[in-house]
Symmetry: C2
Subunit: 557 residues, 2 copies
């Protein structure tokens, strides 16, 4: 461990000032920008593999974290082998006070120093992206290229974005004391000196998810930390390693910058232990970030009254097919979206609403049955080669997904059966292609989330009916993403109106290399926070502002 409270690391932190300025400009301009290369060539895979191997079958190096009363582990790679890593299991009665004790100096450091130190944490994470890629791959089942990009630079982007928003929101008031002079007519004016301090709410809790531990974890982690809150990270017991690495690196960077490393700590747990439910109600926990099931997210929103609660839960992502001038592009783009990580993204489309009379295309009118058959063919073609398929699909993240996949064909007529793909390097991985089931818009099954490679081709009477079903779906069940294909200005207007009314993010006519599943930090909002799929958006002002308060000290000048 490299901790040293006296090490003169300020220059290293100062080096991030340009990144902070560029990030602040980027969240305002929302054009393309990233401080992190995304090319795999930037992150040597073999070094990452070696670092990952060195972590396995041992205790994770976090013995400096206070309050450890035991060690827990049990992660099994979706590619078919146990990781063998054990993590400290803390006693919150010992760990939380140690974290709270770290707060005053971090608060006193101010928004700018906090932002720069957070950026230093992220820069150190970036330098180890290949190691993270292996850790993400073997906890989530993502294929390596995706684990590298989404788990590495793209997750880091979201972290930098959160830091930039936190910095902007905390610097809405002057950093130095203000003189307030109120005229009193002919009498002497009233003069006060006022000093404003951004004060954190308390300790932040990040409850990690199984599928995207870093991408979904970093926004809350860095938004809380940058606004002055110590952060306790409670990873999913099946995806602990990527967040344990994150915590380790954050502790080192904080210590190197002269701060108490207990500003960031890990709360690992045994599977099924339910630690989040206990931690979430602790009075010290004043901010909670959660990604996962709607049931627990709703429970948090309804019970953790002492905390600001930010959730991303689940939804029924919907595609409305009305018309297109690039039918081939539509099919290819959609097939890729369905296949990517076996549909295990919170942004993967589930319901494709297709009018029974068909859709107008550059290849003539295509009926509902033709569209479904053509899409099935596109998926089949995309995934024909097992090695290529495995590289797109990755592995199923946990046993619930294949169970759900096995039950789904009973819901309707199967338009494309899911097939088992044998992974060229990992024969024990569970790899499956997407299932497409035909449903009618009046069947209740299409209003439940089917997490995994399950697509419903939903027959509706007309585009108008599709819009009505879209509205009902978002309002009642939420959606992280909506995709529309239309060449009609009127339909586009109607689709936009539904998404504005029901508060859902809309992509239109994607036929090329941008997919509805993907959002870019600094430009796209991930979720809106305004429909049942999530109460938070990554990243807007509402995601950072409630994490701190301004405390004012005023006195006669």
């Amino acid at each position: 461990m490299t901790t040293s409270a006296t090490a003169p690391h300020a220059p290293a932190v100062e080096a991030h000032r340009a990144t902070l300025e560029a990030a602040v400009a980027a969240i305002r301009d929302r054009a393309f920008w990233s401080p992190h290369p995304e090319s795999p060539r930037a992150y040597p895979a073999d070094e990452g593999a070696a670092a990952f191997a060195a972590l396995r079958d041992r205790r994770f190096p976090l013995d400096d974290q206070p309050g450890t009363t035991g060690w827990v582990g049990g992660e099994v790679s979706p590619y078919g082998f146990p990781l063998g890593v054990e993590y400290p299991h803390p006693d919150p009665d010992l760990l939380l006070p140690a974290m709270r004790a770290a707060l005053p100096a971090w608060r006193a450091a101010g928004p700018e120093t906090r932002a720069l130190v957070c950026l230093d944490v992220i820069a150190r994470i970036n330098a180890r992206s290949a190691e993270f890629a292996h850790a993400v791959m073997h906890t989530t089942g993502q294929a390596y290229p995706m684990a590298l990009q989404a788990g590495g630079p793209h997750a880091q982007d979201r972290g930098v974005e959160a830091v930039a928003h936190a910095y902007v929101e905390q610097t809405r008031v002057p950093a130095t004391p203000v003189t307030w002079t109120k005229p009193q007519g002919r009498r002497e004016p009233l003069v006060l000196t006022k000093e404003f301090t951004a004060v954190p709410r308390g300790i932040g809790l990040v409850v990690g998810c199984n599928t995207f531990p870093t991408w979904n974890g970093y926004p809350g982690l860095f938004a809380s930390l940058a606004t002055g809150n110590p952060v306790l990270v409670k990873p999913h017991p099946r995806a602990t390693l990527p967040l344990a690495l994150t915590v380790r690196i954050a502790r080192d960077a904080l210590a190197d910058a002269g701060f108490d490393p207990n500003l960031v700590a890990l709360a690992a747990e045994r599977e099924g232990e339910g630690v989040a439910r206990v931690l979430a109600l602790r009075p010290e926990i004043r901010v909670i970030d959660y990604t996962g099931s709607a049931a627990f997210g709703d429970w948090l929103e309804e019970n953790a009254h002492q905390a600001a609660v930010f959730t991303e839960k689940s939804g029924v992502n919907t595609v409305v097919l009305d018309s297109t001038d690039d039918y081939a592009g539509l099919l290819a783009n959609l097939a890729f979206s369905l296949a990517l990580y076996s549909g295990q993204m919170c942004t993967t489309p589930q319901n494709l609403l297709i009018p029974r009379p068909g859709i107008a295309t550059d290849q003539g009118r295509k009926t509902y049955d033709e569209v479904v058959a053509d899409l099935a063919a596109a998926v089949t073609g995309l995934l024909a080669d097992d090695a290529r398929a495995a590289g797109l699909l990755g592995a199923l993240v946990n046993p619930q997904v294949p169970r759900r996949l096995a039950e789904a064909p009973a819901l309707g007529e199967v338009a494309l059966a899911s097939r088992a793909v044998s992974h060229p390097e990992h024969p024990d991985a569970t790899v499956r292609t997407p299932l497409i089931v035909k449903l009618s818009g009046d069947q209740p099954a299409c209003l439940t989330e089917q997490f995994g490679p399950i697509t419903f081709a939903v027959a509706v009477d007309s585009t108008e009916d599709a819009l009505a079903l879209l509205r009902r779906t978002i309002r009642e069940h939420g959606a992280m993403t909506v995709l529309g294909h239309t060449t009609s200005a009127a339909v586009e207007r109607a689709l936009t109106e539904v998404c504005l009314d029901e508060c859902a993010q809309l992509s239109l006519n994607l036929t090329g290399g941008v997919y509805v599943n993907q959002t870019a930090a600094f430009s796209d909002f991930h979720g809106s926070g305004g429909n049942p799929a999530a109460n938070a958006s990554l990243v807007d002002g509402a995601f950072v502002a409630p994490r701190f308060r301004f405390v004012e000290v005023r006195r006669p000048a």
Copy 2:
């Protein structure tokens, strides 16, 4: 009524652009600024009296509001006469859909137009400040000068402040479509067009209070309206008139600007009807602003899960007396703070923590008993003349206050008895001077809010003990304000540390014409939102950001 959807009133609205720009600068600089004169000379009292008289003993002119199923009234002036005004009692099943129908055009208007129209509403309110002063005086019991200033220009300032914050937060992203170009090495770049719309959450509900209907009502009303939410105003049944006037003016201004007047509506109720509890759980209500009792505020926070809930509840405001170099100034300033509006401000100090050994002053050491006696004398002197006393004290707002005041002497040794003041113009008004009761810091009574003219002089062993009691008081019961008097840099640091840790607004050494009860819009934060007294601060980013969401529409360029 002046409503006309086609009237060319845009220039009137445009005239407020300079105000918007100045307000945006003011909330950033936090120096003194106000667009509203506060001198009573600016608002002819006789015209206000005539306008007020014209409103009495009739139905309030809101017959254009949809869904009215009856008329309710019953307000009685704390100065001793019934107002005789009746207000429409709406059926929410009819009124809420009409309000929701007004939303899309208001959303489409965008943040700038909404801000300018809101400023037009406030400018029209400002022009009628004297009328408002009478309405506020005869619903809250405030004396006329206070009703004019706090209920008029100061309340309007808070409204403009909310509009400025809402505008800043909504314009964090570009108003016009953005082109996003992502390089792809030697291939063609990916290019998308992205359009961002600030989308309101739904309908806002403002639950007004009895004591400051406009000052506490305007921040939430204008924050919600400026972020695109229609607003339903549910006034306190004893203080309906000032908010009914506000609703009437807002509806006229909205119509004149070409918008649906149903963007702002009134939900008057009979006393004891409990309409807020019903409205607060309606699915259409997505934002709630509430000022009032902790019991109902806590209930809202714990039950209205469908809404963003902003509360100002109650607290135990505390003064720590350690030392002073202006003992006379301290006594005069504190006596005024206790007397102003009979201690019926949410910011009035309640507990004065005084070390038993006494405090060092420019007049020598003063023991606990001496400080209490000197303060009692200062209050007595300030309020010796009945006419002057009535002008400071105003009337007790409702029967609960004199009841509480009658019971309080039993809590400890009375250092200053409350006396009845006869109002020179309103013999039926209940006017009372402050009661000062001696308590010891270990008596539980000092940890409960005693709303009204009840002050506890709390004896503690030392300044250190005072700080410990302060910390416990804020943490467990909350505080809107903290005041400290000290000449010691070490005590000042310790006091500041407690207020930063427990998130309370601190004033130091006020001995002149600024009082701890008073905060200035654009500069001071009212409440912190970080202790049990309130979950919101007037006005910061966290007060506006959760009221809307950004919805993005992206498509290939």
